[in-house]
Every structure is written in C-alpha cells, then in structure tokens.
Amino acid sequence: MDSIAEAAAPVFPFKRECPFDPPPQYAAARAAGPVCPVTLWNGKRAWLVTRHAEIRAVLSDDARFSGAMAHPDFPTVTAARVVVDQNERAFVGMDNPAHDAYRRLFTREFSVRRMQALKPQISAIAEQLLGEMEAHGPPADLVALLAVKFPSLVMSALFGSPYEDHEFIIACAAARHGLTQSTGEAESKARELAAYVRRLIDVKEKTPGDDMVSRIIEEHVKPGKLARDDFAEIGAMILRAGHDTTTNMIGMGTLLLLQNDALRRQLTDDPSLIEAAVEELLRYVSPVQFSPRRVALEDVAIGGVTIPKGEGLFMLLGSANRDERVFERPDELDFKRDASAHLTFSFGIHQCLGQMLARYELHIVYAAILRRLPNLRLAVPLEQIRFKHDMQIYGVHNLPVAW
C-alpha cells in the first residue's frame, strides 16, 4: 500500500480548469477513496481528506490530530508558510486546552446578538460605498470600490483600527495568503501586523473608544488575563481574517450572480431567499483552499487507509462542499437548496470565530448591490477577469462592472 501510494502521489496543489470549480482531481479523489496521498513542494508526503464526513471526523478528533502550526511536521503548500506557521502565536494555531482558553476571551465579541446589533452600521457602510460607486460612474472595479473597502470599514468600526490603515492590513494578509511570496516577505509582514496591533493597544489604553480593542483591554488585559503581546498576535489574526475572506466572497459571489441571470432574478424577486443564497454561495465558492491542516499524532486509519504518525493532512473544504454524498447535484448553484451543512467556515474547535459577522456582511452587501444596481453587468469579457490562482484564498483580483 505504501509503495503504491508513494509512486502514485501527485504534486499538490493542483490547478483549476474552470474558474468556478475546484480542480477536477478533487472529484476523482473523492470517488476513489476518503483520503488521497500527495507530494508537497518539499518532497514530503501529505494526505488530502476529500469527503464531507471524514473531514468532519478529523476536525472533531483533537486527540489523534493536532492543529498546532508550530508542529515540525505541519504541512504547508509553500516554503514561505513554514516560517509563518512556526511563528504563529494566536489560538488559530493552538491545540486545546490553550486554544479554548484564549478563544473564550474573544467569543463574546462575535456573539450572534453582538453581530445582529452591528447590522445597521454594516448596512450604512454598504450604502455609503455603493453611493460612492454610483458617483464614480461606470465602468468601475467592484473589487477595488466595494469588495475590498466594505469589510475594511466594518472591521475598522468593530475592531477600532483606523480606516486609513486598511491598505497596510490588506498587504499583510496578502503576504500570508500568497502562493508566490518569499519567506522573508511573508514573515516580516506577519511581524509588522502584530507590532501594529501592539501599538494600537497602547493608543487605546490611553484613549479608549467604543471598539473591540478597548473592550478587551478593559475586560481581559487590565485584570491580567491576557498579555498585551498575546493580544497583539490574536488581534493580527482577527484583522487578517476579517478582510480577505469576505472580500473574496463579495467578488466571486457577485460574479456568479452576474453569470446566472435566472438566479439573480430569483433573488431580486424574492429577497427572503438571501440567507439561503448566501449559504449556497459560501458552499459553492469555498474561498479557503488549503486549510485547515492537521498532523497525525499516531497511526490513524481513515476509511481503511493508515495515515502514519507524523504525516500531514489537508482538509479540502472545497471538495467537502461538492461531496455528492451530502449535496445533490453539487456542481449546480441552487438557492432553493439547504446548503447549511457546508464546511466553508471549517468544523471543530477552530471553526471560524467571525462567521456570523461574515454572514451578515454578505446578506447585507449582496442585497444592497441587487437593489441599487439592478442593471449591473460585467464591463469586460469573462476572460479579462483575473482569478486568484496565485493565492491560498481564492477569488477575483478585479471585477470591472457597468450598470
């Protein structure tokens, strides 16, 4: 088994053939078995977990799989990411009990009630940006004018980071999520962002505001429950996560609506479909491509295949979300289906902390786009859209539109 697997292990990651679908190897791997051996950039073997049920099972099994990014065998898709992972100090890269202890200091900030209370502010930001886009006039790049700015302004209001710093924050996120960055660039941007948040903590300690940084200082830093340096690392993680993923969902989601007149009409005619539509777009787009990852802490059998201790695993969320065992006609975008079992926000203890914020942002922004720009259309042929084949979080670099 081992020798066959090694001989057959293709080089990962794979390339997409259709910009809207995962690489065709995923469906083939899903059909062949629950795990698929691959070879990484460094010649190491790793395993792709491709089916919905097995991904849920691995992500729920913290006893046998570690999510500690500093683990020496933690798998990566780039050399640059190794150093970034080794230096990750936020709870995204921790196992329990440390993970829960840190995460719990922040869960309240993202509670359903808190996020619902933010809706009027989020709506106002969407309206403001769409107003600016209308004033700019067609053609306009929806990525630059809306998809990038919208989550930046929301994060700025929630977190307390000045909006004028958003380009710096986005550059830091891009350095981490690129597939082509040098090791030095990825790591130096990670350090710069943590240092930036560390300075913001100092500022907010002197002049508090109605924002997350000020509240966390008051509730956790001052009573000695959270060190300022640890907060800086966690804050950097929250800022990065709050920008990139939502931006890519707005760009890809809007493009998909522009490519599917019938779906768009359905949503315009019945705005109550928006929540189901957002779940379906989250399932279909699956922007996070090469995470979450785990290391086997012992020999573990998955569907009859033994993953040896010390080998890495990639949970292919985009594959789970097209798993025929869970979703009928998985390659079809269908706003009438119940897509809520999608794993776009991962599963297990590390499931996305900001997922409710992301949902409300997307409900509001897609609805506002459809309402204010009913004649929205692509201003260039599809071939001129640059898809993010160079990034670990997939989306579009540009979306020139007219209306």
């Binding site: 992500l59 729920s60 829960d100 995460r103 719990r104 200091l105 869960t107 309240r108 900030e109 993202f110 509670s111 359903v112 009630r113 996020m115 809520s340 079992a341 926000f345 991962s346 599963f347 297990g348 203890i349 499931q351 996305c352 902390l353 997922q355 409710m356």
Partner: protein, 70 residues
C-alpha cells in the same frame, strides 16, 4: 417533549444554535458561551433542534426525546 443538553465546556461560541433555535439557546453575555433558556422543548421544534445538533462544530449539544409524563 425533547430534553436538551448543552455542554458549556465543549462550546466554542460559534452561535449556530442561537441562530437556529433562539427559543431554546442563547449565549452568555460575559463570554459568548452557550446557555439553555429552557430545559426541554416541544416536539414541534424537533427539526430545528436536530439542525442545531448537526451544525454545532464542537458537539456541545445533545437532545433526547422524552414522553409527556416522564
């Protein structure tokens, strides 16, 4: 009736239960961790409770069907 159990030790505050069955679940104001508003729910909520169980990423919720007089 359906008896509902929620384990605050396992909860990671993802919030699916609160969104799915707000009649039964809430999040503690101090730390966003799950809190039960009622110990049991009518059978009419079965589908929603099942969904909350399925969506919970950390298996913090469990339900048990009980008869009316138990």
């Amino acid at each position: 009736m359906i008896r509902v159990y929620a384990d605050p030790q396992k909860c990671v505050g993802a919030g699916h239960c609160v969104r799915t069955v707000p009649e039964v679940f809430d999040q503690r104001e101090e730390d966003g961790i799950v809190v039960l508003l009622v110990p049991a729910a009518p059978d009419a909520l079965a589908a929603y409770l099942n969904k909350a169980v399925q969506l919970c990423p950390s298996q913090a919720i469990r339900i048990e069907h009980i008869s009316e007089n138990s």
